[in-house]
Symmetry: C2
Subunit: 130 residues, 2 copies
């Protein structure tokens, strides 16, 4: 016989999803990964300016939840590149529905694609100014 799963609050899929993702920052890190950002400093350079302690804690939480994985790309000091797993990629649908809702009901907010273009423009600007 299967053991009964122990849930933190209830068996509801929404409650359990919020236990992992329910805060103001975690889905912004997922958004950044979805947009192709990979490194700690790239996440920190996003317009929301995530505090460094929150970023470190969220990356750990996302990794232990199996939403992201990391690979070192530099040994001393060690640096990691992060990427979404299949479980993380599947959050695209949640992100997109939030964009649709935000665009419809919060004036002047911009879409993922628009954020992506702005990110590119900033990168180009940076390249030009370097």
């Amino acid at each position: 016989m299967k053991n009964k799963t122990e849930f933190k609050r209830s068996a509801c899929a929404i409650a359990n999803t919020l236990d992992i993702l329910g805060d103001k920052w975690t889905l912004l890190v997922v958004r950044d990964l979805y947009l192709g950002k990979k490194t700690y400093s790239e996440f920190q350079n996003s317009p929301e300016k995530i505090p460094t302690n929150i970023l470190a804690e969220r990356l750990k939480r996302l990794e232990s939840a199996g939403i992201i994985s990391k690979q070192s790309y530099q040994p001393r000091p060690i640096r990691y590149a992060y990427q979404l797993t299949q479980k993380g990629e599947a959050l695209e649908a949640v992100l997109k529905e939030m964009v649709i809702w935000g665009n419809k009901f919060i004036p002047d907010t911009i879409s993922l694609e628009r954020v992506e273009k702005l990110v590119d423009r900033q990168k180009r600007k940076k390249l030009l100014s370097d």
Copy 2:
């Protein structure tokens, strides 16, 4: 000329959505309203057992964000019944994608429909035991 909108963190639709809904409880209250619950005590009786101070704060926040509206149904002491506005109803798509993701990636979690049936069963049980 239109004034530039001032955003709390950025113009990103996801960031602004999370500024309203990004915590472990707010979307559970929206879920309850979506399932037909209307009163303070109905929200408190949900399996997650939302603390009363958090519930009061979230109802205020949801009302000031235009996601819910309230009507008094009893004068002394005053009691309110809450319902989703059109803006609140539109969160259905976000809730559903969270259910799909949770059901797929968090073992043994149950869907909105299943929660709804459980709620009904609890109501029937309560009726029978009253």
